[in-house]
């Protein structure tokens, strides 16, 4: 091992000689004086004087911070967003509209309940309740705002609506079980005349029976 290193030293002999002959650097004359002054003044901090270099890198970090704060301000500032968001405004309109529709439809249903027999009453009650719930949960499902996109189910079933596109038909098929998210879906029901007459006859007979019962009660009294 020693031989290898000796051989290496021989290889660099000229270089080693030059390195050994390099002039010895000496400390400046005032080295000790300066050192003692520093110790006496307790100046133990960094004495290294760093030359101030101008560099763009110094400005990078603060400018990046400023830029990000400005961007975040515009992104998350709430009032500016609310004023500009058309979608939110539309949903508000839809909510208002659906509330109005709810009240009118509830009145209509109450009227219907008075004229419909008890079995159908229950169904209509539950359906009206469901309808109210659905409207509150998904107010856009019965909204008539987008008539151009709406589908009339009766026309579709009867085949008279020829203007509907295939995509709309697909939506009908897909959303058959659940109330649709589609905001222009309107179900317009036209009651059958025969069933109406049947229901009226039933109601009339009930009314007659009630009148007879009332008259019997009066007689008994």
């Amino acid at each position: 091992m020693k031989k290898i290193y000796n051989e290496e030293e021989n290889k660099f002999s000229e270089l080693l000689k030059d390195l050994k002959d390099l002039p010895k650097i000496k400390a400046p004359d005032n080295f000790e004086y300066n050192l003692l002054t520093r110790i006496q003044n307790k100046n133990f901090g960094k004495k290294m004087k760093e030359k101030k270099h101008f560099s763009w890198a110094k400005f990078l970090a603060p400018s990046a911070v400023v830029a990000t704060t400005i961007i975040l301000f515009f992104i998350f500032f709430p009032s500016s967003q609310e004023n500009n968001n058309q979608l939110l405004q539309q949903t508000k309109l839809q909510n208002n509209q659906s509330a109005v529709n709810n009240s009118t439809s509830a009145k209509n249903e109450l009227k219907d309940q008075q004229s419909v027999p008890s079995n159908t009453k229950l169904q209509s009650n539950s359906s009206s309740l469901l309808g109210v719930n659905n409207q509150t949960a998904k107010p856009s499902s019965r909204s008539p705002l987008y008539d151009s996109r709406a589908i009339k189910l009766d026309d579709y079933i009867s085949g008279s609506n020829k203007n509907q596109s295939n995509t709309n038909r697909g939506n009908i098929v897909n959303n058959g079980e659940e109330p649709s998210q589609y905001d222009g879906f309107i179900v317009s029901e036209k009651p059958d005349k025969k069933t109406l007459e049947r229901y009226r006859a039933v109601v009339d007979s009930i009314k007659k029976a009630q009148l007879k019962a009332d008259s019997l009660k009066k007689v008994q009294k």
Binding site: Y5, E8, F12, E14, L15, L16, D18, L19, K20, D21, L22, P23, K24, I25, K26, A27, P28, F31, E32, N34, L35, R38, I39, F44, K46, K47, M48, K49, E50, K51, H53, F54, S55, W56, A57
Partner: protein, 194 residues
Amino acid sequence: MNKLLTEFSDEELIKEYQDHNTPEAYDILVKRYKDPLMNFVYRFVGDRDICTDVVQDTMIKFYLNKDSYRSFAKFSTWIYTIAGNLAKNELKRRRRRVIFSIDNSDDERSPQIEDKMFLAPDKAADGEMRNEIIQKALLKVKPVYREVVILRDIQDLSYEEISEITGLAIGTVKSRINRGRAQLQKLLKHIYRE
């Protein structure tokens, strides 16, 4: 008393300074080591002003942390370790400054070796010029190799002492010295024709 102190070994002086806080012991040690440390740090950093500051800081550290010296180590290795660490830190700081400053116009600090095409042979032979070229080449060698080459070939320290100063195994020290020399020789190939 003073005469006696000058005859003390380094280890005796530091012991005297540690035990009795004798300022003369400190002064003597500063006088003994200021020049070797200046030479070592100058060859490592390549700037006389920075080198003076580094050695001053080394002496301040010695003054403040005298109790951290343990008597089983040699005083020379302890003080060289401090100076070496400060010099390395200074180098790192300078390198960072060079990286971050876009308009770095300080050509004096970036070591450059003259191209042999522009160096006349009679000039290369000239001692002063030769020393300057060697110093610049030394600054081009990787710091890990440069340190051990300086300690071994310029400061004339033993492998054991270098091992203690750098905290490396002796084998690693030897191989690093060898690599450092090879790098230096390669950089100075126009001077040393094989």
